[in-house]
């Protein structure tokens, strides 16, 4: 009887796994390790690239699609000479390591890691097998110890940074709101990207006559109170690429608009939701740039440890004229020539 129970348990565990196998992830071609080895012996006419993404999020998804497109432009096309295995950790810190070591275990030609914690986990897991890691959407590779002060990699790892154009953001806010004195920024205490961004904001703000007021939250549930507390103290809000804050953006916009306080964003998706304007990067382009770097490594033109990490050149300005009109704001002449309308 006891043996039967134990046996049932084992069967059940096997079944649970099998059920999992029946539902392969989208985009996942699930190549086995033998397939990876075959591709290596076949004189490099087919390649395997593993993509490990930290969380499911508009910008990060754009990064991934851009990366795949960047590879395609360089002659590596999924289904033809490229197999892509994609895993997403859904922002679970524990799952990160598991995914990184599972992907490294299939011995791909290259691992693309999206966002800081995943880049660190992949570098750690792939370093042992000396698989090159190309990261993207890492705000500060130097602080993450993926690169030294000279921008050169600390190991077989390089990629692109999604550092926000903080100075351009300040310039744009000043141009649209000539009278404003304080900028409020909401951030999550668990996101290191936001911390480094705020430090830069605080360093540059006095040059443009601004004072920065920040409010940190630990989770989505604290956002309504934090917004209510912050709004009376500020003339406008600036929204970073903080995942938790961005996911509550609709609520923040609601509360801010009720008090006639404009909210600035950091990427196009935020403007579509109702931010008045955003000086930000195009994550798809960032992904493409990353894909081009990965292609160089795959072609053997260079190795990851020889390439400095890159930042995207120039930022784009997106506005939502509907949102601006509601708040009685007008676009200054100086910005009109480079603006892109992004109202939904």
């Amino acid at each position: 009887m006891k043996k039967a129970t134990a046996l049932t348990l084992v069967l059940l565990m096997a079944l649970a796994l099998f059920a999992g196998c029946g539902a392969p992830a989208e985009n996942s071609a699930s190549p086995s390790s033998s397939a990876a080895q075959e591709s290596q012996s076949a004189a490099k006419d087919s390649y395997t690239v593993a993509i490990a993404q930290y969380a499911q999020h508009g910008s990060l998804d754009n990064c991934r699609e851009g990366f795949i497109d960047g590879l395609k432009q360089a002659g590596f096309e999924e289904g033809k000479n490229l197999t892509i295995e994609y895993k997403n950790a859904q922002a679970d810190g524990g799952l990160n390591n598991q995914i990184a070591s599972a992907l490294a275990g299939t011995n791909p030609d290259l691992i693309c890691a999206i966002a800081t914690p995943m880049a660190q986990a992949c570098y750690n897991a792939a370093g042992k097998a000396n698989i090159p890691v190309i990261y993207t959407a890492v705000n500060d590779p130097v602080a993450a110890m993926l690169a030294g002060e000279d921008k050169m990699p600390t190991g077989n790892v390089t990629g692109t940074s999604d550092k926000l154009p903080v100075e351009e953001q300040l310039k744009t806010i000043r141009a649209i709101l000539p009278e404003a004195k304080t900028i409020g920024i909401l951030y999550t205490t668990s996101e290191v990207n936001s911390e480094s961004c705020i430090a830069e904001y605080q360093a540059l703000a006095p040059e443009y006559g601004f004072e920065i007021v920040t409010s940190g939250v630990n989770s989505t549930t604290e956002i309504p109170m934090a917004v209510d507390a912050l709004l009376p103290k500020v003339d406008c809000l600036s929204n970073l690429t903080d995942n938790t804050v961005v996911s509550s953006l609709a609520l923040i916009l609601d509360k801010a608009n009720a008090q006639n306080i404009p909210v600035f964003g950091s990427e196009i998706e935020q403007v579509k939701l109702g931010c008045v304007a955003a000086e930000g990067l195009d994550y798809f382009k960032l992904g493409q740039q990353t894909g081009a770097m990965a292609a160089k490594v795959l072609k053997g033109e260079t190795t990851a440890d020889q390439m400095a990490y890159e930042v995207i050149e120039g930022s784009s300005l997106y506005v939502n004229s509907e949102a601006m009109a509601k708040l009685g704001l007008t676009l200054p002449e100086s910005l009109k020539d480079r603006v892109q309308e992004a109202a939904a």
Partner: protein
């Protein structure tokens, strides 16, 4: 091969944590949620100390002590303030989130290229370079073995017997003229000490601290304990502590196989929960039958 090594390495690290959960869940019968906070607590302290050039082995000891303190606080809240067991764990866990951020100074602290227990002049001089891939697993195995043996020895002492008595029969402890409250506090402290030790090891293994790394620790711990103790409960030559270690490695293996099979990580928690519930229910059924047989 990398996958198998990864399973054993991570399984062994979480095994130390599971030993702690075994003390609270199985011995004390106390559902302790402090672990979600004490695991990153050990990691935060380790990251801070390693960045400042401290000895990595000393860091582990200090992580253990920090966890000891965290567990004792949960115990004090429960015993002295008469707060329910589940709630006292939640209170400490919530507080630890802020404490961890303060200790580490940032939500993400990398410690790449610094001395860790897995890579330092002493270890590198003992093991030849070609063995470097196997250094973590050897060291982890020794560390886990040490924790297990110490725990087995402790459970045989008078204090260890009292600990087991509190979970089984609170009244017995009182009739022995011992304070069951202080025994509980001691048990919680020891348990969280082990959990924080595991967090410290994890930090050195993955080379960074991330404030969210403790999320779901209790699930991994409970799964390891339940899988281990239920699967091997009739294998009399295995000590309960050994079955917990095997349970931890088995659980990690299940997760790794599921990921390799192409399980969408979106469904990971759901599959874990179903597995979890099934093992609990089946384990209970088995337990009931056992009682009947003895009657």
């Amino acid at each position: 091969m990398t996958i198998v090594l990864g399973i054993f390495e991570q399984g062994l690290i979480y095994a130390i944590m599971a030993l702690g959960v075994y003390i609270t869940y199985k011995i004390l019968d106390f559902p302790d949620l402090t672990v979600d906070g004490s695991f990153p607590l050990g990691a935060a302290l380790t990251a801070l100390l390693i960045t400042n050039g401290w000895d990595p082995f000393l860091c582990l000891l200090l992580s253990f002590l920090a966890g000891l303190l965290a567990g004792a606080i949960t115990g004090l809240i429960h015993v002295k303030c008469h707060v329910r067991d589940l709630l006292s764990g939640i209170i400490t866990m919530t507080a630890l989130y802020s404490v961890n951020l303060h200790i580490a100074g940032s939500s993400n602290v990398p410690i790449f290229n610094m001395n860790t227990v897995f890579s330092n002049p002493l270890v590198n001089s003992i093991f030849p370079a070609e063995m470097s891939a196997y250094v973590p697993i050897i060291l982890l195995f020794l560390l886990v073995l040490l924790c297990k043996i110490l725990m087995d020895l402790y459970l045989k002492t008078k204090s260890g017997f009292l600990l087991r008595a509190v979970g089984d029969n609170n009244m017995l402890v009182t009739t022995l003229a011992k304070d069951s409250g202080s025994v509980k506090i001691l048990g919680l402290a020891l348990a969280n000490g082990l959990v924080a030790l595991a967090g410290g090891v994890m930090c050195q293994y993955q080379h960074f601290f991330q404030v969210s790394m403790g999320t779901g620790t209790i699930v991994i711990g409970l799964a390891s304990v339940i899988i281990g103790t239920n699967l091997f409960k009739n294998v009399s030559f295995l000590k309960a502590t050994t079955t917990v270690l095997i349970g931890s490695i088995l659980y990690k293996a299940c997760v790794a196989i599921a990921i390799s099979c192409g399980l969408d990580p979106t469904d990971m928690n759901l599959v874990s929960a179903i597995l979890f519930l099934a093992i609990l229910v089946l384990g209970r059924l088995g337990g009931k039958k056992k009682v009947k047989l003895h009657d």
